[in-house]
């Protein structure tokens, strides 16, 4: 198989044949289009990128050492700060890992509410991604403002349920903290009903646009083998044609009850990653309709779950869910004390960046910005 590591023949081939003096440009950490404090040291030959070194660590708070210092419950509000766009899915991934560690079961209604909130977060994240990507392409804010208009409606739902727009701290081990009242469900239903209309308008503005297609098609191609080997997960992996969606593969929660499809790309370029996310949003709206319709009654929280003094037996567990950015997982090692012995987060944005250099080689600076935008990273999760 082609040697795809950074020092490998394929990459060195591109390095060796450049000539003329190189221009080293450092883009970031304070750069308008690097989605936070992320730095790329780019070596340019004229317009073409010859070498790209990502530099992390500017937002590193050592989330995992903090996790070892507080109780299991204490880490839950900190998971909101990981991928600060999708706090509900971070909470759910942590809750799944702890429930697997302690063997807790979750009541039916809580599973449905978790699916509803996760799919709302997926809508929110993919809409924002499309907005940021078009902002990197050069639209002066219009798609981003439409995306934020819809995002605000979803955040209002989160605020009236969990108390805070982005730092929800809503899931608990064995269920959810607050039972969504009836009027909340009605507002959620109206939002979901109106979402396809917004998507149609959004696609009319962007998908057919010749300049968008010219800027994104054929840019930053990723082969399926390289993607799987590099641990890329989420829409970026499905854009290369690999059918790997944890909602289907693991079938966690109550996802097997809903019928939904997983869109697959063919080229693995920026356009495919954008289109996969738009098509996934349409599937999420389908899931939301089914989940809102089939929401059962019953308790929202497993009565057996203890809030304080929670000491899981010594052992370890790795729980993962399909977050909007990819497979977000928590690996917990417990030694019987209320604090975890080792608390590890599997960050999808961080690992999806492994092959950023391979995708950008040979492209221009303008493409590198779009390729980074299409990988969809949030620095809270990359640097932890």
């Amino acid at each position: 198989m082609q040697d795809l590591s950074p020092g490998g023949a394929h990459v060195r081939a591109v390095h060796d044949e450049f000539h003329g003096d190189l221009l080293e440009v450092s883009m970031g950490p304070h750069h308008p289009s690097t989605h936070g404090v992320f730095r790329m040291v780019v070596t340019l030959d004229g317009e073409r990128i010859v070498k790209l070194k990502p530099v992390f660590g500017y937002l590193h708070r050592n989330h995992e050492k903090l996790g070892e210092g507080t109780s299991y419950l204490g880490s839950m509000p900190y998971t909101d700060r990981l991928d600060y766009l999708c706090s509900m899915t971070n909470n759910w991934a942590y809750a799944v890992a702890v429930e697997k560690l302690a063997g807790l079961t979750v009541p039916e209604r809580a599973e449905y509410v978790r699916v509803i909130l996760a799919e709302l977060t997926r809508l929110l994240n993919h809409t924002c991604l499309a907005g940021f990507l078009m902002q990197d392409c050069g639209c002066s804010g219009t798609p981003l403002m439409y995306a934020f208009r819809e995002r605000e409606k979803i955040l209002d739902l989160f605020e009236s349920l969990s108390g805070s727009r982005m730092m929800c701290n809503y899931q608990r081990f064995g269920g959810c903290r607050v039972d969504p009242p009836a009027d909340w469900l009605a507002r959620a239903q109206t939002l979901v009903d109106g979402y396809t209309a917004f998507l149609d308008e959004f696609e009319a503005l962007l998908t057919g646009n010749e300049i968008v297609m010219a800027r994104t098609q054929g840019v930053g191609c990723m082969s399926a083998a390289l993607a799987v080997s590099a641990g890329v997960t989420g829409p970026a992996l499905r854009a290369t044609g690999v059918a790997h969606d944890l909602r289907k593969v693991d079938g966690y929660g109550v996802y097997p009850r809903f019928n939904f499809r997983v869109p697959l790309g063919a080229h693995g370029d920026v356009y495919d990653r954008y289109m996969i996310r738009v098509l996934e949003m349409r599937e999420s709206v389908g899931i939301l309709q089914q989940a809102l319709a089939g929401l059962p009654g019953g308790p929202i929280m497993n009565p057996a779950a203890k809030l304080r003094g929670f000491r899981p037996k010594a052992g370890e567990a790795y729980g993962r869910i399909e977050g909007p950015k990819g497979e977000i997982g928590f690996y917990l090692i417990s030694d019987g004390s209320p604090n975890p012995w080792r608390y590890r987060v599997r960050p999808p944005s961080f690992i999806n960046l492994t092959i950023l250099e391979d995708m950008c080689l040979g492209h221009t600076v303008a493409d590198a910005v779009i390729i980074l935008g299409s990988v969809d990273i949030v620095l809270g999760e990359v640097d932890r």
Binding site: G74, T142, E152, S162, G163, N169, R177, N209, M213, I300
Partner: protein, 218 residues
Amino acid sequence: MLGSGILQGLAVTAKNFLGSYHDPARYTTVEYPEVKQQLPEAFRNFPFLVTENATDPMGTLRCVACQICEKECPPQCIFIEKSKDKKPDANGKLQIYPVVFAIDTSVCMSCQICVEVCPFDAIKMDQVYEIATTDRFDALLLNREQLAKPNEYFHQIHPTEAAEVDARLAADRKAAEEKAKAAAAAKAALPAKPAPAPVAKPAVVPPPTAPQSPGPAA
């Protein structure tokens, strides 16, 4: 045809431009200082201590300084010092009260875990967001007096939750009275037995560790 996608895009922006004049859905700005956004009831920002009545805040503080919230708070931003003596609380039982109850709002992230773990419903989440100050230290360290707010205020900002809490407290109070009445009746029923039997220790202060299962509304 080459330009059709671009024309479609232009049509969408034109629709939004015209829509912003007559369609409220396409004009989402709330002009903040003049128009305040209506906060949802569940909104939370920075905790406050609940007192039974506004007249004597320090006297009727619900908090019994059990320091559960101090231990459970993830960023460790609560500081409590127990009092030496005891003071009767709302339903007459002698309770310890906090001499010092300081929350450092520069560290607090309003995650409401303290509200969840408090067995006495003594601390609840406030809805203040206009609390900017110029001083980095003292103004952000809210002491007991600044934190204490009456129960009526609690009813104002979280009506449903406050109603449930009051209902539960009333039920507990009634249960406590029946138990006291039953104990008194039982004591009255056997006055003839000689007194040397060791007197049962007075109802020890209910150990604060018995956590009430978090009510659905907490």
